[in-house]
């Protein structure tokens, strides 16, 4: 990325400090620390079971780490439930998809607009002007996202009926709809072919470029990681073993040993 960014990378906006997470006797994450800079695209990589998803779950409040602190925009997230974290400006997608299967594509994305809709149930029940205007405006916004992701022709289909690749797109759309400051993407390209991945990369870069959304993504495809990331964190057995720009990380010996592998002659 040689041209000037619309949103230059700034100061740390999300700080993970000495996080440890245990499930019973199993240590998922041990004393992990790193920072995510504003407007950057940060990848988290590492072998399976390294604790990557758990880390994301800690950030958005689904798991509560036993030790350590996570700070977002300077404010410590302590024992906060996911909906409050969302309110603060963090949204996400899930590794195994967590769509609302019985709702349509557009309705799934509309749920992403929850934080932008404040009409209470009475206003909605009586269809008062505030509720109607809000619904109209947010629907329009969702239509834009649907067009952006090029899924207009399936907007009314219940997502449970869609193929995996399209479901992944919808989940991204739902996360985008939140207009969050930070998007946590858990393996957004898992199970996709080369073309679908290329498209996803295009979307991710576009969102980062046009909206300045900070992205944290867990990804296994090294090509993708090296291509689009500004910085990379490498986890192994719940610990950080490298943290820096792609080129540096790629040639780090520990990373090669643990994950990237050695070229055998």
């Amino acid at each position: 990325m040689t041209q000037a960014r619309n949103f230059p990378i700034g100061a740390p906006v999300l700080e993970v400090k000495n996080i440890s997470l245990r499930f019973g006797g199993v240590k998922a994450i041990t004393d992990t620390s790193f920072s995510v800079l504003k407007h950057e695209i940060r990848s988290i990589i590492g072998p399976n079971g390294a604790g990557k998803s758990s880390l994301l779950n800690c950030i958005n409040g689904i798991y509560k780490p036993q030790e350590g602190k996570i700070a977002f925009k300077g404010r410590v997230l302590d024992q906060i439930s996911p909906n409050i974290v969302a309110r603060m400006g963090i949204s996400r997608t899930f590794q195994n998809l967590a769509l609302f299967k019985r709702m349509s594509v557009i309705d799934n994305i509309l749920v992403g607009r929850r934080l932008h809709m404040s009409a209470n149930f009475m206003e909605v029940a009586f269809q008062l002007p505030k509720a109607r205007a809000e619904e109209r405006a947010n629907r329009a916004r969702c239509e834009e996202i649907v067009e952006f992701l090029e899924i207009t022709d399936i907007r009314d289909t219940p997502v449970g009926k869609l193929p995996y690749g399209l479901q992944k797109k919808v989940e991204l759309g739902r996360a985008l709809a939140t207009e969050a400051d930070i998007l946590l993407l858990d393996e957004p390209m898992a199970g996709m072919n080369v073309e679908e991945k290329r498209e996803m990369c295009r979307f991710i870069l576009k969102v980062n470029d046009e909206l300045g959304t900070t992205m944290v993504l867990i990804e296994h495809d090294m090509g993708v990681v090296m291509d689009i990331s500004d910085n990379v964190v490498v986890l192994d057995y719940g610990k950080v073993i490298a943290d820096g720009p792609p080129d540096i990380v790629r040639s780090n010996q520990d990373v090669i040993d643990a994950y990237l592998g050695v070229a055998h002659d």
Binding site: S53, N57, I62, F94
Partner: protein
């Protein structure tokens, strides 16, 4: 002194009544342990089993043969349920399966009444609901002979089943199937046989439970509502635990009796109708998996 004695009587009666609840709960636990299904129809199965048993005897069939016939009937019910209800829905959510078993409950209770009629039947098991003379005379306690027999039967069944589960090959197979049917099948555990076995056991337990209840309170539709009480028992004891079914039943039995006797008169009775459920709520808030159940974990 009479107060204390009376209290003991109440507690004892509660414990014994509790074993009856345990018997019903036992059927639930068996099916849950093997297939992770909540069989809401367990109560209806109890009713269906004992009504059929009594019906057979009314037709002149001797006790032992009627018993055997009913057991076979229950096995057939179990098999049919497995094939027609549970198999088609095996990929659906837990809630859907539960609703299907609610439907099953209505099918069974309706069928039983349609075939055998709705009159209340007496069931004589040779032991009367009278205080055991020996205990009354020597200890001054009034303890129903029928209650004691029910307690002994329940306890024996529970012990036998618990041992079977833990130590026999069948029991191990059952637990494997409950944990992961796919994996169990892939290592050669005959799923069909296991499921048949479980439903047969649950049916047998249902029949025994029905007989105990029926001897005590008459064979009538009210049994089904009584069986609803097995649900709080399971919440307290844990859905996956056989010992839990006993302990849960005992707790509910005692609490029910004590509240009914000591606080009931203030309100004109009826506390036992809701007390077990409210007690269950407290357990749910404190320890949802029950005293002996497995913790419910959700993976994200």
């Amino acid at each position: 002194m009479i107060e204390v004695l009376f209290f003991f009587e109440v507690v004892l009666a509660g414990l014994l009544a509790g074993t009856m609840y345990s018997l019903v709960a036992l059927g639930f636990v068996l099916i849950y342990k093997a297939s992770s299904t909540f069989n809401f129809a367990q109560g209806a199965m109890v009713f269906f089993a004992v009504l059929s048993f009594v019906g057979f005897m009314e037709l002149g069939i001797p006790f032992a043969i009627a018993f055997a016939m009913t057991v076979i009937l229950m096995i057939a019910v179990g098999y049919t349920t497995e094939r027609l209800v549970l198999q088609p829905l095996r990929n659906e959510s837990e809630d859907t399966l539960l609703m299907a078993t609610i439907g099953l409950a209505f099918v069974l209770q309706g069928l039983a009444q349609a075939v055998w009629g709705v009159e209340v039947r007496r069931l004589d098991l040779g032991v009367g609901d009278f205080p055991i003379a020996w205990i009354a005379d020597n200890l001054g306690l009034f303890v129903s002979a029928l209650d004691v027999m029910a307690g002994v039967v329940a306890a024996s069944l529970i012990v036998i089943l618990a041992l079977m589960f833990k130590y026999t090959k069948m029991g191990l197979g059952l637990r494997a199937v409950a944990d992961d049917p796919g994996a169990a099948a892939s290592i050669g555990i005959p799923l069909k046989n296991i499921m048949l076995l479980v439903w047969s056991a649950a049916g047998f337990v249902a029949l025994v439970a029905g007989m105990m209840w029926g001897a005590r309170a008459g064979v009538q539709f009210a049994l089904v509502d009584l069986a609803l009480k097995a649900l709080p028992v399971l919440i307290i004891g844990g859905f996956s635990s056989i010992p839990g079914a006993i302990v849960g039943g005992l707790i509910i039995g005692v609490v029910e009796k004590v509240l009914e006797v000591y606080i009931g008169p203030v309100f004109g009775g009826g506390i036992e109708g809701w007390a077990p459920f409210v007690l269950a709520i407290f357990f749910l808030l404190w320890r949802p998996e029950g005293l002996f159940g497995e913790k419910i974990i959700r993976r994200v």
